[in-house]
């Protein structure tokens, strides 16, 4: 076995550690520090002890935001991943048609969040938007759906847009993994007379397990700290109906000038996301053994 000096290890890790610690890690203890203050983001800081944390625990909007985040996690895991998997299986067989489909299916991922939100707000516009126009065209003249203004619907409308954008990413991940499964496995099972479903159930799915777990972790973490499409599309509204932890944090820190409380929310978000991903990884690892 090769011997590598501590210095060499350190030098290899140094660039990544340095940049990462400086820009991403250092702000965390700083946020923890700010969470004990009342602070506008500028000017005087007033020490308030645990009162921001006490407020957070009793804050109904934060509870709602947290709950919305979990809805987003759930609908991403069980919306994005299965559809992505289905599409990947569909595209696995290489033909000219699947090649073209592959290109088109991938496109939503290439758009920026600002662009996605702009596009979807024109799709959802209740008076002139694409969806309601479509409903009218196919005969539902009196069906008027208020996608973003109805508090019961707003979050789900936004999640549809989010899923639309991220499904292609998971699709490509799964497609790549499926292509890596050796053909011999399927041939062998065909000889044994296995059906398509059995192939999928006993070969594809087990071999995709690590990819599915990775995808789930990415989706989980991404959903817990999600911000941009929601912020541009609804601003967390109406009346906090589509509020997420990150949008609520942003509003407090930058709109209400409550940087101390905003930092408290951010730290809570970090702790929640961290805990859940650790639990998730532990559980899935156990399952693997």
């Amino acid at each position: 076995m090769q011997k590598v000096s501590k210095l060499t290890i350190f030098l290899f890790l140094l660039p990544a550690l340095l940049i990462f610690s400086l820009y991403m890690v250092a702000p965390i203890p700083l946020s923890a520090f700010y969470s004990f203050f009342r602070w506008k983001g500028f000017g005087e800081r007033v020490f308030v002890g645990l009162s921001n944390w006490v407020e957070l625990i009793g804050d109904g909007i934060f509870h709602k935001a947290l709950f919305n985040n979990f809805k987003l996690v759930f609908l991403s895991l069980f919306g994005q991943l299965p559809i992505a998997l289905a599409l990947a299986i569909l595209l696995a067989k290489k033909t000219r048609i699947t090649d073209i489909l592959k290109t088109i299916y991938f496109v939503p991922l290439l758009m920026s969040s600002v662009a996605v939100a702009t596009l979807w707000s024109n799709i959802y516009d209740p008076n002139f938007g694409l969806l309601n126009m479509f409903l009218q065209t196919i005969g539902f003249e009196n069906l008027f759906i208020d996608y973003l203004g109805n508090p019961k619907l707003a979050l789900y409308s936004v999640i549809v847009a989010i899923n639309w954008r991220y499904i292609p990413f998971y699709m490509i991940l799964f497609l790549a993994a499926i292509k890596n499964i050796p053909d011999e496995l399927y041939e062998a099972s065909r000889v044994d007379g296995a059906s398509k479903w059995e192939n999928f159930r006993y070969i594809t799915l087990p071999l995709l397990r690590p990819t599915i777990i990775n995808a789930s972790v990415l989706s989980l973490v991404g959903s817990l700290k999600f911000f941009d499409i929601v912020y541009v599309l609804t601003g967390g509204g109406p009346n906090n109906a589509s509020e997420l932890m990150a949008t609520y944090m942003y509003k407090n820190a930058f709109n209400s000038l409550r940087m101390g409380y905003g930092s408290t929310i951010a730290l809570a978000l970090f702790i929640i996301a961290f805990t859940f991903s650790i639990i998730f990884m532990k559980v899935t690892k156990k399952g693997a053994k």
Binding site: K40, F42, Y147, G149, N150, P151, N239, K251, S256
Partner: protein, 427 residues
């Protein structure tokens, strides 16, 4: 020898002069505001910069515009890092006071009193930047009035008249509704749009004191009767079907409210007078059938019918306390508020808050707006501009709840009051 020495001296003197000139030329004044390409006032700012730089070659001004919503975040982050620009724009009122309290803003009182510069401005405009008797900003762009715009052709077609009282107003709404129109166009994703109704209603019902006493903690409360009634009236209008379906999801920034007017679907539109400029730009043909009236009064209300919601000054410019170029910055603001700038602003349809601008007015629509402002006994500054941001946000948060009926008027009023108590107890 002597010759070469003198040559050396000459050359080095030349170099010194050159260096010092270039050193002077490097003095840079940084100016932040929201006058992006989207704003019609941009040429006025640019012209003032050019004129200032021509007269003061030792300075250059770096103008950095940022679009509205992001501007606040950006300014706040810069303040947090003690790196505020030399000159920055705000809207006066509560948010500016936060910066003043944090010791970020230069006291301009002395500069204003010098050479009677103060006489240049309409007093009400300066008032929104006056705290403890000192001035911290000067208003540059428009006096603004929120007006009830309406489509005269639709009113004629349906056969309704301009309503004077709330009862008439409801009548008009019902008739318009029966004729298949959306009576009031509104895009309430942005919340400050719906807030305009709330502010007018509070004023008409409780008079200007209702708000002033609550905001200044002079024995008033945001949970008092005027605020609760304002909420009830909004929900009454909602029940009448006065607003567009999906009102809480429509986006004013994308003009989804005006689209309803353009498509002949909606008849009235409560908005700041800038809507006139926007429509002139977007759909000039419609202006032929377009006018405005004052917000209706309540028979038992305390509000003066001439009162307006609006702002006696739009963009307010302050100089940073930390700036090393305060004098030059003040000098520049004088260019920005001189006759040339005033005339340019008025030509753009902007009622600059300077004395004597009425002389330049020739557009009849603008003269009407000017008169409405001039005849108003009181101009209610937008709540989100008057109040500290924390309370302003609480107010805005309740607006969608009221229009969407997910909150009772009592709950909404109580929520703002609680936030106000929390804020003032902490001070």
């Amino acid at each position: 020898m002597k010759k070469s020495l003198s040559l050396v001296v000459t050359v080095s003197m030349f170099l010194v002069i050159l260096l010092s000139v270039s050193a002077i030329a490097q003095e840079e004044i940084v100016l932040w505001d929201i006058t992006t390409e989207a704003e019609s006032e941009l040429p006025v700012i640019q012209d003032a910069i050019a004129r200032f730089e021509a007269d003061n070659p030792e300075y250059t001004i770096r103008h950095v515009p940022t679009s509205n919503d992001d501007y606040k975040t950006k300014l706040q982050v810069a303040m947090g890092a003690n790196n505020e620009p030399d000159i920055f724009m705000s809207w006066g009122g509560g948010p500016l006071k936060e910066y003043v309290d944090a010791g970020k803003v230069m006291d301009m009182t002395k500069a204003l009193k010098q050479d009677d510069w103060i006489e240049r401005f309409v007093p009400a405009g300066l008032e929104i930047a006056r705290f403890d008797g000192n001035y911290y900003a000067v208003p540059i762009t428009g006096m603004r009035a929120v007006l009830m715009f309406y489509r005269t052709d639709i009113f004629e077609e349906v056969g309704v008249e301009i309503p004077e009282t709330y009862e008439d107003f409801k009548d008009v709404i019902v008739q318009l509704k029966d004729a298949g129109y959306i009576p009031l166009s509104l895009a309430n994703k942005n919340r400050w749009t719906g807030s305009m109704y709330y502010m007018y209603l509070v004023d008409r019902i409780g008079g200007k004191e209702a708000f002033l006493n609550a905001a200044n903690r002079n024995g008033g409360s945001f949970a008092s009767e005027a605020f609760v009634r304002a909420g009830e009236v909004i929900q009454e209008l909602v029940d009448l079907g006065a607003f567009p379906p999906g009102v809480n999801g429509l986006d004013e920034d994308q003009g989804q409210s005006r689209q309803l007017l353009y498509a002949d679907r909606a008849a009235m539109y409560l908005m700041g007078d800038w809507a006139y400029g926007l429509i002139k730009n977007e759909n000039p043909a419609m202006l032929e059938n377009f006018s405005f009236f004052r917000f209706p009064v309540f028979e038992d209300g305390k509000g003066d019918p001439s009162n307006l919601v609006g702002s006696p000054g739009g963009n307010m410019y302050s100089v940073a306390k930390s700036s090393e170029h305060q004098e030059a910055a003040i000098e520049f603001l004088k260019y920005l508020s001189d006759e040339t700038a005033a005339k340019q602003l008025v030509d753009l349809g902007n009622l600059a808050p300077f004395r004597g601008v009425e002389e330049y007015l020739d557009d009849p629509f603008m003269i009407d707006i000017y008169n409405a402002l001039n005849n108003a006994n009181y101009v209610q500054l937008y709540y989100d501009q008057y109040l500290p941001p924390q309370i302003a946000q609480a107010h805005l948060d309740t607006i969608q709840g009221l229009f969407g009926k997910t909150m009772t008027p009592e709950e909404a009023a109580q929520m703002v009051e609680e936030e106000a108590q929390k804020y003032f107890n902490e001070q």
